[in-house]
């Protein structure tokens, strides 16, 4: 009996030592919460592509991601709103923005019978500025012939937590309405002229569901998953476009022609007949010159995989995949990633 135990134990010990001591590279990242579902899917799938690399991603918010990547406490960051020039200057070396997927923000509402509504950016801005206060206002009625709009006050619901979703929404309103731009402006949190604040997508949609006459905004993915009524919005080509994955990708395609070299572009109100106007990229933030060759090469390889094979996971998780012309532009950018001046991806 005793010997059996000893054999068993020594076998166990041997097997423990026999485990391949694979030098796994652990790459840490932090940032935006909005793309977290697809990032965790990618990082999981990527272990099958390259078992040597593990990604660890903390979805602490875009602000935290920018802060941590600037302080180099993580290997890459992630953000829903591009870094501004001041923030880029504060970074110890050049940071690249790599678009990963797109998301859209939609207007959702609580009206009897959940009619399909249409809005223009001007009307949305006026509602959120508190200038249009009733559902049967002439400006709303003019856009929605045939819909019986109640004589009811509009209860505006917005996000109370700082978020990329809010940034996209107010970025759009700022582009459309100069009054919004002047009075409120852009940010992940703003000084809302009217309305109630709900925490998270679930807080906003919860309040919209409970409050007759409410109007709020949530992520497209959240609205689709929960079957919320969503409004079509008039785009730059004067067409009313319903939010969908296809119309979100179309928004990026429209913007691709004038894409700045650093990808720091706002996709709201882009050209294109099919484009839904309240959409945005979400970005990964990586250093152009990587401080560690092993990690740097792994990041560059992952970025390549993510922008090609990885895009097929987007649809299922209700993100809009990158349009082909943008992927071509990203390829060029990934090839610029270096370690001590030498490019990390060459043989492609």
């Amino acid at each position: 009996m005793k010997t059996a135990w000893i054999t068993a134990l020594s076998l166990l010990a041997a097997s423990a030592f026999a485990q391949p001591a694979a030098a796994q590279t652990l790459i840490n990242g932090a940032g935006a919460t909005f793309p977290y579902p697809i990032y965790s899917k990618w990082f999981d799938e990527y272990t099958k592509v390259d078992p040597e690399v593990r990604f660890n991603y903390q979805s602490i918010g875009s602000g935290g991601g920018i802060k941590q990547v600037t302080a180099r406490t993580v290997d890459f960051g992630a953000t829903d709103g591009p870094m501004n020039d001041e923030q880029l200057k504060a970074a110890p070396s050049e940071l690249l923005h790599i678009p990963t997927v797109m998301g859209a923000v939609v207007a959702t509402y609580n009206l009897p019978g959940s009619p399909k509504l249409k809005f223009t950016g001007d009307v949305l801005a006026d509602i959120f500025l508190g200038k249009i206060t009733k559902w049967n206002d002439a400006k709303i009625a003019a856009l929605n012939a045939g819909v019986s709009l109640p004589d009811q006050p509009i209860v505006v619901v917005h996000r109370s937590d700082g978020s990329g979703t809010t940034y996209i929404w107010v970025d759009y309103l700022s582009k459309i309405s100069s009054e919004w731009d002047k009075k409120v402006g852009r940010g992940t949190s703003v000084n809302w002229p009217v309305g109630l604040g709900g925490k998270g997508n679930e807080g906003v949609s919860g309040q919209v569901k409970n409050q007759p006459g409410a109007l709020g905004y949530v992520e497209l993915a959240y609205a689709v998953k929960n079957n919320l009524p969503v409004a079509a919005v008039k785009n730059a080509a004067d067409k009313f476009v319903a939010p969908s994955i296809a119309s979100t990708t179309a928004a990026a395609a429209g913007a691709a022609k004038n894409m700045p070299d650093d990808f720091r572009v706002s996709l709201t109100n882009p050209p294109g007949d099919e484009a839904y106007p309240i959409a945005s990229f979400t970005w990964l933030l990586v250093y152009k010159d990587q401080p560690n060759e092993l990690k740097g090469r792994a990041i560059a390889k992952f970025l390549w995989w993510m922008s090609h094979e990885g895009q097929k996971y987007a649809d299922d998780l209700l993100y809009a995949p990158l349009p082909t012309p943008v992927v071509k532009q990203i390829e060029a950018k990934i090839k610029q990633i270096t370690y001590q001046g030498k490019p990390l991806l060459v043989a492609r």
């Binding site: 109370s160 937590d161 978020s163 409120v184 402006g185 809302w192 109630l196 604040g197 709900g198 309040q207």
Partner: protein, 321 residues
């Protein structure tokens, strides 16, 4: 139970007699000092981190009610007001309820029913606050909007407290959620306090011909007064600092509104909402200054409450024998 009162010190100054006592004394002193150091370190780091906001706004921070992260104009009034009002509301509801329940459990309830109720009370205290918050959004807020607020508006609508459109979410919802959350604390601690009142007190009152209520009032409640205040302060501390549940139902609007139907905002909520996405240094500093202010408000409120007790009934009495 620290909240009850100071236990008389027995030979506190006597020299330790052996090595073990000396070690004990050293370790306990270190534990006490660690707590003090922790508080000092918290204050120091908050002062340091909020310095940019203090320099930029000075006292204006306490006098302004604008909160505009885009223009970087920050003022704390709506948050301080929201924290104080929601906690006050919670106390108004929770104190009679909690102490009433404690009196029943300690004095009146038949013996067999006491353990299950006491157990349930402790169970309620263990429910996570996000659950209260979700319940608040999906059950309490609609209930308030459809039934309670219209009824209050109709009957007491002449008071500015009950005016304005009923949203469900708002200051009233926050106060009620907080009250539900702190009732178990107040009940559990008050019950312990009342049980610690010596039976001789009750016997003496009964012997003088006092009724049940008079006995409870004179012999039990008055005797345990400082302990009861401790129970209430514990609840108040929870209410002042509670974040998640309040954030979900208060409406998150930085405004000073007299009406309880209107949305409001609390200090803890704004920190929870905006800290993760605060990118600029000044914005972050302003949020940390709110944190510092919450600390100060908590200390001041506690001090005031204790002063109040002392002014009514002399210094804190010994409850435990």
């Amino acid at each position: 139970m620290a909240v009850v009162a100071a236990v008389p010190r027995v030979e506190a100054q006597a020299a330790p007699r052996n090595f073990g006592d000396q070690v004990l004394r050293f370790v306990m002193r270190a534990a006490a000092l660690t707590l003090v150091l922790l508080v000092l370190a918290m204050i120091a780091s908050m002062l340091h981190a909020s310095w940019p906001a203090m320099r930029a706004f000075g006292w204006r921070f306490l006098a302004s009610s604008t909160w505009d992260p885009v223009a970087e104009q920050f003022g704390a009034i709506p948050f301080v007001y929201g924290t104080l009002l929601s906690s006050l509301l919670a106390l108004l509801i929770a104190v009679p309820l909690g102490i009433g329940a404690a009196i029943y459990l300690a004095e009146l309830a038949p013996a067999w029913i006491r353990p299950p109720i006491a157990f349930l009370v402790e169970l309620v205290a263990a429910v996570p606050s996000v659950i209260y918050g979700l319940w608040g959004i999906f059950v309490l807020a609609p209930l308030l909007r459809v039934w309670v607020q219209p009824a209050l508006g109709k009957t007491l609508g002449f008071l500015p407290l009950f005016q304005g459109p009923p949203y469900g979410v708002g200051m009233l919802a926050a106060g009620i959620i907080l009250a539900i959350m702190i009732v178990p604390y107040i009940t559990a601690v008050s019950r312990e306090v009342l049980l610690a009142v010596p039976t001789s007190q009750r016997e003496a009152a009964l012997a003088l011909g006092a009724t049940r209520w008079e006995t409870t009032r004179i012999a039990v409640l008055r005797y345990g007064r400082s302990g009861l205040v401790g129970a209430i302060l514990l609840g108040l501390g929870r209410a002042l600092g509670e974040t998640m549940a309040v954030t979900m139902v208060i409406g998150n609007r930085p405004e000073v509104a007299l009406s309880l139907f209107a949305p409001g905002y609390t200090m803890a909520s704004v920190i929870a909402n905006e800290f993760a996405e605060a990118t600029s240094d000044l914005y972050l500093a302003a949020l940390i200054e709110i944190g510092l202010l919450l600390f100060v408000v908590t200390v001041v409120v506690n001090a005031l409450a204790r002063l109040l007790v002392w002014s009514v009934g002399g210094p804190v009495k010994v409850v435990r024998e």
